[in-house]
């Protein structure tokens, strides 16, 4: 039998048994959509989280005040601890051998204003090195001046969005912005950028760290970033930092130092597990679709026994009958799987236009896999009834009997 004839024949079957066709179609398409959307969700979450963590280089250590205890004690949730991490600590760390740069960080929310316009922003107090470590750059003007940590200057670098909102189309560079009871001259505007660590970098104001400390009236640092000269030294320097601070804090080990690698690997493990779990759930829904196909095919065979007998009487071999049934299942599986893929792409497109900072893409292996799985399952579950259909003796099939006198 020729392929065009087979296709014509089975499309006639499929279009006549419309209900059955639609049920199969929907079941398979839902399976494919489930696989694609769920893996896209898993992968999207993963790449979102990873990109957040990736902003730090592999050579960066983060020091936070407070000791992460496994038993007892309060974890350093707020960054406040009995003994604060100070600028002097940061200076001491920057003098360690193997340390390339240190960036202290003080954070706070504050209202800023310019010619009557008022905005609440995230104020970051840090140093010149902060820009290198966090891979930030200005689109206009310049970075903060390279000052010792304990020297201040009334200048600021502001985020892109903040600049637009305060100054509209007017030039911002050189203008004075009021923050609390201080005034800062704008010397730079950050390039348009995403978020990092959940902070929207388009909506921040960065000033020298001592200015921020006096503005918020606190000594402690929220974080301290340390960049080492080479990756091999990372763990060595991590130990040195802990030892140094312990010595400076009267023998009390009250800071936590973490590296990106450590964070990433644990986060990645969790996210991978999530993706696999989600893919597993989706695959189960495909299996259900497969079983549905088998049931439908068995019913079909019973309903069409007479026709099978007729086809055989008219010269169709068992192989032809089997081919007809298998290609019937295959055709609907392919069409349904492709439409499922189309629907998932449409949904993802919609989701991606709705969310800016998290993007969902179903990975190629999920797309290919879901289609292959759908077709394979359809063929597998159609095989059994097809086998049964083709093994019927023509005369028995013609009389509408099933498998009688077979044994």
């Amino acid at each position: 039998m020729y392929w065009p004839d087979i296709v014509k024949f089975i499309t006639l079957v499929l279009s006549r048994q419309r209900f059955r066709t639609i049920v199969l179609w929907v079941a398979i398409a839902i399976g494919v959509v489930a696989v694609n959307l769920l893996t896209a969700l898993g992968e999207g979450a993963k790449s979102y989280v990873l990109s957040e963590f990736n902003v730090l280089g592999r050579n960066t250590l983060i020091t936070l005040p407070g000791k992460k205890e496994t038993k007892g004690g309060m974890p350093p949730l707020t960054g406040e601890s009995p003994r604060p991490l100070t600028l002097k600590d940061a200076q001491a760390v920057s003098r360690l051998a193997g340390v390339k740069a240190v960036a202290p960080l003080v954070l706070g929310n504050i209202e800023v204003s310019y010619s009557g316009k008022l905005r609440e922003v995230l104020m970051m107090g840090s140093s010149r090195s902060f820009f290198d470590i966090r891979h930030l750059d200005v689109g206009q003007g310049r970075l903060l001046p390279d000052l010792p940590f304990n020297k201040g200057e009334s200048v600021c670098v502001i985020g892109n969005k903040l600049s637009r909102e305060l100054f509209a189309s007017k030039p911002a560079l050189g203008e004075w912005v009021r923050a609390g009871d201080s005034r800062f001259r704008v010397i730079g505007i950050l390039k348009e950028g995403g978020t990092s660590f959940g902070f929207d970098m388009n909506d921040v104001m960065i000033i020298p760290v001592v200015n921020a400390q006096s503005l918020f009236n606190k000594d402690g640092l929220f974080r301290m970033f340390t960049e080492v000269r080479s990756h091999q030294e990372l763990n060595n320097i991590k130990a040195k930092i802990i030892a140094l601070i312990k010595e400076r804090h009267e023998g009390e080990e009250d800071v936590t130092v973490i590296s990106q690698d450590a964070m990433l690997s644990s986060v990645q493990k969790i996210l991978d597990t999530l993706t696999y779990a989600v893919t597993g759930i989706a695959s189960i829904s495909m299996l259900v679709a497969g079983i549905l196909i088998m049931n439908m095919m068995i019913i079909t065979v019973s309903q069409r026994t007479k026709e099978i007998g007729l086809l055989k009487a008219l010269g169709a071999t068992s192989a032809t009958v089997r081919l007809l049934f298998l290609s019937e299942a295959g055709l609907i599986a392919v069409v349904a799987a492709l439409s499922g893929l189309l629907v998932s792409h449409a949904v993802l497109l919609l989701a991606n236009s709705y969310f800016d900072d998290i993007q969902f893409h179903s990975p190629w292996w999920a797309q290919l896999g879901s289609i292959l799985l759908a077709v394979l399952l359809a063929l597998l579950f159609a095989w059994l009834p097809a086998q049964r259909a083709s093994s019927l003796a023509p005369v028995e099939a013609l009389q509408g009997k099933q498998q009688k006198g077979q044994a």
Partner: protein, 219 residues
């Protein structure tokens, strides 16, 4: 040529054995016109099914054009069937989702004849059976006589040498029945071997040779 010798066929119904064919020996020459008659349950359809390779006998030999078809595999029998044998059933057995034309085309499609060749053959048959204006109708839009003509068209499209008809006029009124009979006879006149099962004495009498069956035996 059909040569049957000592054919046996029995069916098991519960613990009872029914001898549908009992020591049937028979020779039918090419081009013959044979009517098979007999009471209900005498084994006529069973004989036709075996002649048409739709079923196998339990014992005995069946030579079809000097080939021992009892020895062939199912696939080989299918091939022989599609090349040499055409069937006409009492209840037409048309595929309802296919048009008249497509029903006639079906055997050629199944045995892989290219579309162009099929179209020519089917055109010729539609012409011959005066079904040209019904070609694109579905079976349920046709009268009984027309349906049986379509079924005959389908039976002869592969140009078989044998045409087997099991009560072809059983479901038809006398006018359409006569039409169908005339059609079958004209095909026989062109050289096809025609074997007809019938309850209709008048039709049986028209055949050049009559076979009578009773309880699975030829009498």
């Amino acid at each position: 040529m059909i040569e049957l010798s000592h054919l046996e066929k029995s069916f098991q119904i519960g613990d009872q054995t029914v001898h549908a064919l009992d020591d049937v020996s028979l020779t039918i020459e090419t081009g013959e016109y044979v009517a098979v008659m007999g009471p209900s349950g005498s084994g006529k359809s069973t004989l036709m099914n075996i002649l048409g390779l739709l079923d196998r006998a339990n014992a005995g030999q069946y030579l079809l054009d000097d080939i021992n078809v009892s020895d062939l595999t199912e696939a080989e029998r299918t091939h022989v069937r599609s090349q040499k044998i055409g069937f006409v059933f009492q209840s037409y057995h048309l595929v309802s989702r296919l048009t008249a034309r497509e029903n006639i085309e079906l055997p050629m499609m199944l045995s892989g004849v290219p579309a162009k060749q099929r179209a020519l053959a089917v055109d010729e048959i539609l012409e011959k059976l005066s079904l040209v204006d019904r070609a694109h109708h579905s079976p349920n839009q046709l009268s009984g006589g027309q349906r049986q003509r379509v079924a005959i068209g389908r039976a002869i499209v592969m140009k078989p040498s044998i045409l087997l008809a099991d009560e072809p006029t059983g479901n038809l009124d006398s006018t359409s029945g006569a039409e169908v009979t005339a059609l079958l006879e004209s095909l026989n006149a062109e050289g096809i071997t025609l074997v007809v099962v019938t309850h209709d004495q008048a039709m049986g009498d028209r055949a050049r040779r009559q076979l009578r069956m009773l309880d699975g035996r030829l009498t």
